[in-house]
Amino acid sequence: MKVKYFAWVRERIGLAEEQVEPPEGVGTVGELIAWLSERGESYAYAFEKPKVIRAAIDHVHVQPDAGIAGAREIAFFPPMTGG
């Protein structure tokens, strides 16, 4: 699946997007954050406060307990500050 990062999450990780293949057992958004956090220091830094991180699956906001099966695109970003 494609994973996208925005704002300071993108800056900390150093990537705007990437393809990832999480293993079985990574079934929810929260579990995906935990799995990504293990990929290196930059990821651990980006996700150091997982409760702050917002997520969207296929352009719709979701909570950490949302399932990721069938998702085409999952995005992680800080709380929004537009308007």
Binding site: F6, W8, A56, H59, F77, G82
Partner: protein
């Protein structure tokens, strides 16, 4: 007449008077137009701000704004609405965002404009980065913006 919904995300500036006129053009069913303009400030708590840079999530930003536009159309008797959100670098005094709502009567137009702005602030995927004297930093979300959006939630 059918309601016209316009949602645009763009780098270019917009002309507020033109957008209001375009929404009401040729119609006699509109009795009230409310517009809200969000403008880049040059200071925050006494510190000067040189510019803002707006980042957004292409695709989701349009979809999220459209979802709230649809909800506004369902909740209030609107004749039309226009939402424009700029992205990229914006300097003090420049427009950031525009919401225009049109209805037969003022109350629906006022309420819908406020509802749309409250949700744009907290739920549309845009992020502001501020350039200050000491460097650039991401703007932090404010709790009072969440509270403002929460009051529109129907139980």
């Amino acid at each position: 007449m059918t309601a016209i919904v316009t949602v645009r995300i763009q780098e270019a500036d917009f002309d507020t008077a033109h957008e209001i006129a375009a929404l009401a053009k040729g119609r006699t069913d509109i009795g009230a137009v409310v517009s809200f303009s969000g403008i880049c400030r040059g200071n925050d708590h006494g510190e000067s701000i040189a510019a803002l840079t707006l980042e957004h999530y292409p695709g989701m930003a349009e979809a999220e704004i459209m979802r709230h536009a649809d909800e506004a159309m369902a909740r209030w008797p609107l004749n039309g609405l226009t939402i424009i959100h700029r992205v990229g670098r914006i300097t003090p005094g420049e427009n950031i965002v525009l919401v225009v709502t049109a209805s037969s009567h003022r109350q629906a137009a006022f309420h819908a404009a406020e509802f749309l702005m409250d949700y744009l602030k907290t739920s549309a995927p845009f992020w502001k980065r501020e350039e200050r004297d000491e460097g650039a930093s991401w703007v932090e979300a404010r709790a009072h913006d969440d509270a403002a959006a929460a009051r529109w939630t129907r139980s």
